[in-house]
């Protein structure tokens, strides 16, 4: 693991990755009847949801009454807060509470799902019966006694966000605004958006796991509008992590603001590059979007078990040069995509997707792991209790390679550097993917010559992997607040990459001949 988190590298991107395509442990069939023990150890999450192990066990029995290879109850309480600074004042706040329990029963590849926001026993039992209706009723699955797991430590906080008053957040937002205005007299408007949240989940499974997790999250975004004569340009930057209040140091905030202002100012000089196929240098950090779209989604096992991914028959095959290693890892402390346990109660871990150029492993949830007869990779995630989990990425990155950034730039005769991004998308079957480059540079005869802006880049996943001809030694994770959308569910993710050269991609542009 060679990822380094650096705070001071200009032009780090941020935004939101949206894939707009309109799982639990391996099932083991009928289980031995075991008395459901009521274990005494105090569980603050039980109190939080107003339930006890007896109640949870009763609902689990109802859920599995018609049989099931797996079943789970996903209790969740989310509390989010946001604040907006516009036109110099913080005059808009929003808070939200989402509380409920999702109930799921799985038989082979079949899923029955229901949820309720009323955590009383009758309401939970009714939801359990609805979910259980998927099963045919000719099997019996008996819940195992609960064996509570330890809370994870990847993002422990000393003060939950619920206890941080607005009076402490306001000065941070004002500092960001003033800093942005101070950096250039042409800065016309500054908006600052604050978001924080605490999420408490408690997952109880048919095979007896009882997992609790407290997941904090915060994100700060600054938007700037710059006016020069009649011309107006706007840009933004944001930072996000599973962190607490003290994370917002003056240094960190200043870096973010400088990025936003620099990215916006350069738009006045930036042009569209020429259109067509050309070499693309992906700057370190946010360019991890390449991995997310070109390979990450295609390696999610739900697509592969259905045979719909272009990577379906490629495990064990050479897909890239030997210096390419790509990893999805949820255990990087405090990262936006970090997780102690996935949303099926499986301990989250590290999955090597590509090792030294060879395709290694898909990202599994319980359903796909059962079908492939492998251990789940802890990749079963869901947006909330309102959704059934499916395989998802967490923090996806490429490890360091043998080259340097300077060598890579020197190797390009005519091409571009892609540096900041707003979004991306992929078609799983054809493997075509895109990402939108907000800022970048033209490279001519091995030299960086002029700024570029607003071009979409499109490529094909497996072809682009083959065309990664150089990988530098400057890997880092992006600090921006990325959100991945899949089948209508949004989850926070992280991504990173060293400077990389892709020998040919199709770049949107002008000056068409």
């Amino acid at each position: 693991m060679t990822i380094k988190r650096r705070e001071f590298l200009g032009h780090v991107a941020a935004g939101s990755a949206v894939l707009s395509v309109p799982g639990f442990l391996a099932g083991c069939g009928v289980q031995q009847a075991t008395a459901v023990a009521v274990k005494p150890p105090a569980n603050p999450f039980m109190d939080w949801f107003g339930v006890d192990q007896t109640t949870v066990a009763r609902v689990m029995s109802e859920l599995a009454a018609n049989g099931g290879d797996a079943a789970d109850l996903y209790f969740q309480h989310s509390r989010s807060n946001s604040l907006a600074l516009e036109d110099g004042i913080v005059a808009n706040a929003n808070s939200g509470i989402q509380q409920g329990v999702g109930l799921r029963v799985v038989i082979g590849e079949q899923t029955g799902y229901a949820f309720t926001e009323d955590l009383t026993l009758p309401s939970m039992l009714a939801a359990a019966r609805t979910a259980a209706a998927i099963a045919s009723g000719n099997r019996v699955a008996v819940p195992q006694a609960f064996d509570p797991k330890d809370m994870g430590k990847l993002y422990a906080t000393s003060v939950p966000w619920a206890e941080v008053g607005i009076d402490r957040k306001l000065p941070v937002m004002k500092f960001v605004e003033e800093k942005a205005k101070s950096l250039d007299p042409a800065v016309d408007k500054v908006s600052v958006y604050w978001a924080d949240g605490d999420e408490r989940v408690m997952i109880a499974t048919l095979d007896g796991k009882l997992v609790t997790d407290h997941r904090p999250m915060t994100r700060l975004t600054v938007l700037v509008t710059v006016k020069k004569g009649d011309e107006v340009q706007s840009g933004y930057s944001n930072i996000a992590a599973r962190e607490e209040f003290g994370w917002y140091t003056e240094e960190r905030l200043t870096t973010m603001v400088k990025e936003a202002v620099d990215r916006t100012l350069i738009l006045f000089d930036a042009r569209r590059p020429p259109a067509g196929e050309m070499p693309v240098i992906l700057a370190s950090g946010a360019s991890g979007i390449l991995l997310h779209e070109a390979i990450g989604h295609g390696m999610e096992a739900d697509f592969n078990r259905k045979g719909t991914s272009i990577y379906t028959d490629m495990i064990g095959k050479k897909v890239a040069e030997p210096f390419v290693t790509i990893v999805d890892q949820a255990t990087i402390p405090r990262e936006r995509g970090a997780l102690n346990y996935d949303d099926e109660g499986v301990e989250a871990g590290r999955t090597v997707l590509v090792e030294n150029g060879i395709l290694q492993s898909y990202l599994h949830d319980g359903i796909s792991a059962g079908q492939y007869h492998v251990r789940p990779t802890g990749s079963g995630r869901r947006q909330s209790y309102r959704y059934a989990p499916m395989p998802r990425m967490s923090c996806t990155f490429m490890e360091d390679g043998p080259h340097t950034k300077d060598e890579i730039i020197a190797a390009v005769d005519r091409g571009i550097i892609a540096e900041t991004y707003t979004n991306g998308q992929v078609q799983i079957g054809a493997g075509d993917y895109t990402f939108y480059v907000k800022n970048g540079w033209l490279v001519e005869k091995g030299k960086v010559t002029a700024p570029i802006k607003d071009v979409n880049i499109i490529g094909n996943g497996p072809e682009s992997l083959k065309r990664i001809t150089m990988v530098a030694n400057d890997a880092r994770l992006d600090t921006g607040g990325w959100t991945c959308g899949k089948n209508g569910q949004r989850v926070p993710v992280s991504q990173g990459i060293p400077t990389v050269l892709v020998s040919s991609m199709t770049v949107g542009g002008e000056n068409v001949g």
Binding site: I89, A91, A114, E117, K306, A388, T434, N456
Partner: protein
């Protein structure tokens, strides 16, 4: 159900007043959503849920904030509302923030919108599975099919709002969508894929499951053996489905917030010829059985038809009360409803013939636009147009330009508005568009 929602909304207003709010807008919602998914001959997923929620907007001491919860336990709700008022007081005052004035919601339209189909509530498992089976069977009607997922999605949403200055209203609608996604074996490891989904408030308005499945399969088949097209400046024909999302992009920054915040290319366009005179767009919330029809918007503002673009002249943008007051614009409505794009008189076949050569775009892949400048760059899938006819399928291409310039070069408008989106757009033909490919 609506009586209970009404009671809950009125109680929330009272709770907030007791907690010290001067003005309150409360909205309660309840929804039932059922999802049946069927893949390759077997039922894969059944989801049956009822969700509920309460949202309050608090106006206190010249300050404002908004809050939502799904926890309706009466005791905790009192604490939630008290905290909402306390949060409001911790903010800075804002003279522009006021509750929706009564004159904006007084004369609410009474047009019969016909948004509720009683037969949706009566749908049973057998009917949903029967649709799934038909979709599944038809979608598998080709030897290259690897997998097809059919889905039936139906439900009902009820929303009630009450305010401290006398607003009380309930809106209710049903929905039912059917469709499937199809994946085909293509060259090498590649798979061709596409799908088709149709829906509306009334089951009777839907095409048959068999015809929906057939369209899904045909769309996927048309993607087989797709290649890259050329880097070229040529004519672009956008089909009605893709035109709908292209227009959503054009209209994205056509709102008071973006304009007031200095992040909208629409700011400079108002009242003048901004686009080709073939472009006319009306926001029409009162279409019978429309996907986004309504009697009032999220702020309670009474619904009425709003001309957005008339023969290329930018007429109105979406103006809510807050950014309108702040930016000196009269409120229209803060959010889009149904957008009708005036159709032309050409069929798709005629448009292809008129275009002669060019690129026929059937869907977009990623891409984005800068709201401030209108600069855009989008990935696309479609076909080349040769000799006035659809020819080979293309993908892995981008189209790049500026949204305003593009719509200045709108040459022809089709007569085929796409019915399954809230922007009812026909096929559109643009000249001199920059494509990047091989």
């Amino acid at each position: 159900m609506s009586a209970e929602l009404e009671k809950r909304a009125i109680e929330a207003v009272e709770l907030a007043k007791i907690a010290g709010a001067e003005d309150v807008w409360a909205t309660t919602t309840q929804s039932r959503d059922v999802e049946f998914e069927y893949r390759d001959g077997a039922l894969e997923k059944v989801k049956d849920t009822t969700a509920r929620g309460l949202a309050v907007q608090i106006y206190a001491d010249g300050r404002y904030s908004s809050h939502e919860t799904t926890d309706l336990n009466p005791e905790r709700l009192r604490g939630f509302v008290r905290e909402a008022v306390a949060i409001t007081r911790a903010l800075e005052p804002d003279e522009h923030r006021r509750i929706t004035p009564e004159e904006l919601f007084r004369d609410r339209p009474t047009d019969e919108l016909d948004l509720i189909d009683g037969s949706v509530a009566e749908l049973d498992r057998d009917q949903r599975i029967a649709w799934c089976r038909t979709l599944d069977e038809v979608s598998h009607g080709h030897e290259r099919v690897i997998s097809a997922t059919a889905g039936v999605y139906d439900g009902m949403l009820t929303s009630t709002s009450a305010s401290s200055n006398g607003f009380l209203g309930t809106q209710e609608s049903t929905y039912c969508w059917l469709g499937s996604s199809v994946t085909l074996r293509d060259r090498g490891d590649k798979r061709a894929e596409d799908g088709f989904y149709a829906g509306g408030s009334h089951i009777a308005d839907l095409p048959t499951a068999a015809s929906i499945g057939k369209t899904a399969l045909e769309r996927a088949l048309s993607r087989l053996d797709s290649g890259k097209g050329p880097t070229v400046r040529t004519t672009m024909l956008v089909d009605s489905r893709a035109a709908s999302s292209l227009l959503d992009r054009l209209l994205g920054p056509a709102n008071a917030r973006s304009v007031q915040q200095g992040r909208s290319f629409w700011a400079a366009l108002m009242g003048a010829p901004a686009f080709s005179d073939r472009l006319t767009i009306i926001d029409d919330p009162l279409i019978r059985r429309g996907l986004a029809s309504r009697h009032y918007d999220a702020e309670g503002i009474s619904a009425k038809a709003l001309p957005i673009v008339d023969k290329g002249v930018a007429q109105n943008i979406y103006v809510d009360t807050y950014y309108g007051r702040k930016g000196g614009m009269a409120p229209t409505t803060g959010s889009p409803s149904n957008r009708r794009v005036a159709p032309g008189d050409h069929s798709l076949v005629e448009l292809l013939a008129e275009a002669g050569t060019g690129v026929y775009v059937t869907s977009w892949l990623g891409g984005n636009a800068d709201d401030t400048t209108g600069d855009f760059s989008l990935g696309l899938r479609g076909h080349m147009i040769e000799n006035g006819k659809i020819s080979r399928p293309v993908g892995e291409m981008n189209v790049t330009g500026n949204l305003r310039d593009l719509f200045m070069r709108l040459e022809l408008v089709g007569n085929d508005p796409y019915p399954y989106a809230t922007t009812l757009a026909p096929s559109l033909v643009f000249t001199d568009v920059d494509f990047s490919g091989v």
